[in-house]
């Protein structure tokens, strides 16, 4: 009886996962099809990949998108980590609550609203739209994510570690660099990865605040798709999928190594 129940739940999981991945694999599948559209698979070809690698504009945008994601997530991680520490150390509970609420509102508000408000903000300040404005807005919407990833680590952290370090002669800077930072590093790392993916897959905000000279992959794909899907996009999607897969794998490896180091050996 129990075993049967187990099988059903597995089947359910398999179906859900299959449904979620189906569109992606469908896209990737047709990237290897010769022909102009996805109505019928003709025969296997690398042709779309070849055109992709000859499409200098798209490749440049690809590199720029990665650079943007790296840069914005780095800055957001830096600011977000200090922000989380500040929230954690807030003396009054009320103030802490307000700061957290402000942080969470940014997390849940729709991208369209954030994008529109950034657009108004940048034009009001007279900041020209382009790489700079996109970078600033990506940093801004990534900070709350980093705060949310780092904060639990700080909460979990044993306060007596700080007392112990001071007891052993550590000054404020020693406590920060030798105790606090290493202990919350896993949170900082996952915050960084989250911010990176947030920046990578953002469309709405970028669409609002980007100008003529600068575009990211999602915006570029969107504008091309409006003129009819080209299978070159499928090839690009396949590459992006592999790239993200690699990213997740790297994150997994880092986590696993950390766990391995900490895992108790029996005895």
């Amino acid at each position: 009886m129990k075993k049967k129940h187990f099988v059903w739940s597995r089947l359910y999981m398999a179906i859900v996962l299959f449904m979620m991945y189906l569109p992606i694999f469908y896209l990737i599948f047709y990237s290897f099809s010769s022909g102009k559209n996805m109505s019928r698979f003709r025969h296997f070809t690398w042709a779309h990949y070849v055109t992709l690698f000859h499409d200098d504009r798209l490749l440049a945008i690809f590199i720029e998108t990665i650079m943007l994601a790296l840069l914005s997530s780095l800055v957001a991680t830096l600011i977000g980590t200090f922000g989380a520490i500040a929230i954690d150390q807030a003396k009054s509970k009320k103030f802490k609550g307000i700061l957290l609420a402000l942080n969470n509102i940014l997390m849940v508000s729709p991208d369209v609203i954030i994008g529109a408000s950034f657009l108004i903000f940048f034009t009001a300040l007279g900041i020209s739209l382009g790489f700079g404005s996109v970078l600033l807005s990506h940093i801004a919407f990534s900070i709350p994510v980093v705060v949310l990833m780092v904060l639990p680590r700080l909460k979990e952290m044993d306060r007596s570690l700080i007392d112990a370090a001071q007891d052993l002669g550590a000054n404020q800077f020693d406590v920060f660099s030798k105790i606090l930072l290493p202990v919350i590093t896993p949170g900082i790392l996952s915050g960084f990865f989250m911010a990176f993916t947030y920046s990578l897959d953002d469309f709405a905000v970028t669409f609002f605040v980007t100008g003529n000279g600068f575009s990211t992959l999602s915006v570029e794909i969107y504008s091309r798709a409006r003129q009819g899907i080209d299978l070159e996009i499928n090839a690009l999607s396949a590459l992006m999928f592999v790239f993200v897969l690699a990213l997740v794998f790297v994150y997994y490896l880092i986590e696993k190594r950390r766990r391995f180091k900490k895992a108790p050996k029996r005895g």
Partner: protein
């Protein structure tokens, strides 16, 4: 030599709770002290003020004659072993123990030698490269002790450090801590709620309750002559009954008069009588000073714990090595020195003063 001195220290928290109420105490160099009290008595607050993690609201803290009330914890020659050990999880055993010396920028060769010595002292010679998560509770405890001692502090503070260990390991660690303290000759201040632990290890005990020192003295003094019924109940088991002083060296309770060892209390004053269960002996009814009927009997391995009631319905707790029978009428015998008389509201200072008035020539045995 006095190493730490607290003068009229009061600690009030932001919410108005008074954790310490006008505490003055002196810690001498080279002794083993215990701060003993129930949770919320203020014992950990005293420790945190000594270590420098917390500043007193009022009063002064002196270290070797210097006022250190506002001195940062990192600059005090005092180290702490924390209740949960507070070992740094991202460092291995060696790095943990070396932390204090590395902060002080000592030479690498010197650090290596010092860490090796410290680990040897706590019998963890081969553990230098272990991760903290690989250690048992007892081993973590030893690392915490080594990490504190490697800095050669003048005073070592231990905050409920043995409470997480199982009973057997705790006993071992008690002996070991005492041996380390004797060997290094530095002052240990041990915070605990376990009266057995305090009695077994300390040269001197401070009994705390509600932010005040109730009594201080050697374990024997505190056990034999508790100054009030809090101390009497908290340290060991006791039978406490109401009584009346008849005259010096004679007291009346359970409607009988007994010879006792206390004096200096006005005749007729109401007092409390403390009788320790192990001082009560079961005898034949005709030989006893009290007649009781046995209500229950528990075998505790090394003795029987017997509850009995006298004719006035007072309950008596008796520890006996011999068994008796429930429902049997037995006599209870005790010596006159076993009777300890407590006055209501008498402070420790008053108690000491009163003792001096009639114990002038037998100071060897008591204070």
């Amino acid at each position: 030599m006095d190493i730490i001195k607290l003068e009229h220290v009061t600690k009030q928290y932001d919410d108005g709770f008074i954790a310490l109420n006008d505490i003055s105490l002196t810690i001498e160099s080279g002794k083993f002290y215990s701060l003993l009290g129930p949770s919320g008595s203020g014992k950990t607050t005293i420790l945190r003020i000594m270590a420098g993690f917390s500043e007193p609201t009022e009063g002064k803290v002196y270290f070797a004659g210097q006022d250190i009330t506002a001195l940062d914890a990192s600059k005090r020659q005092i180290n702490t072993v924390f209740q949960n050990y507070a070992l740094f999880p991202h460092m291995n055993v060696y790095e943990n123990v070396a932390f204090g010396l590395e902060i002080k920028k000592q030479k690498k060769s010197k650090i290596q030698a010092a860490v090796k010595d410290a680990l040897h002292m706590v019998q963890l010679d081969d553990f230098a490269n272990r991760e903290i998560s690989e250690l048992s509770g007892g081993q973590q405890q030893r690392v915490a002790i080594a990490r504190a001692l490697v800095n050669q502090p003048k005073v070592l503070l231990l905050d409920e450090s043995l409470s997480a260990l199982d009973k057997h390991l705790r006993k071992d660690m008690q002996f070991e801590l005492r041996a380390i303290q004797k060997k290094l000759g530095i002052t240990f201040i041990f915070v605990t709620h376990d009266q057995e632990e305090a009695l077994a290890m300390s040269d001197e005990i401070f009994v705390l309750d509600k932010g005040k020192i109730q009594q201080s003295g050697s374990p024997v003094d505190i056990y034999d002559e508790p100054v009030n019924d809090f101390v009497a109940r908290f340290i060991g088991d006791s039978n406490i009954v109401l009584g009346r002083m008849v005259r010096d060296f004679e007291v009346e309770f359970v409607n009988r008069r007994f010879e006792c060892a206390d004096a200096g209390i006005p005749a007729g004053e109401k007092v409390e009588i403390v009788l320790r269960p192990e001082d009560l002996d079961l005898v034949r009814p005709e030989d006893g000073k009290l007649d009781v009927i046995v209500q229950s009997q528990l075998f505790l391995g090394d003795h029987y714990e017997i509850k009995a009631k006298d004719m006035d319905d007072n309950e008596w707790l008796i520890h006996s090595t011999n068994a008796t029978q429930v429902g049997k009428e037995v006599g209870v015998f005790f010596d006159s020195e076993d009777i300890h008389v407590m006055r209501f509201g008498e402070s420790e200072a008053d108690f000491d003063k009163r003792l001096e008035t009639y114990e002038g020539d037998e100071t060897g045995e008591k204070r």
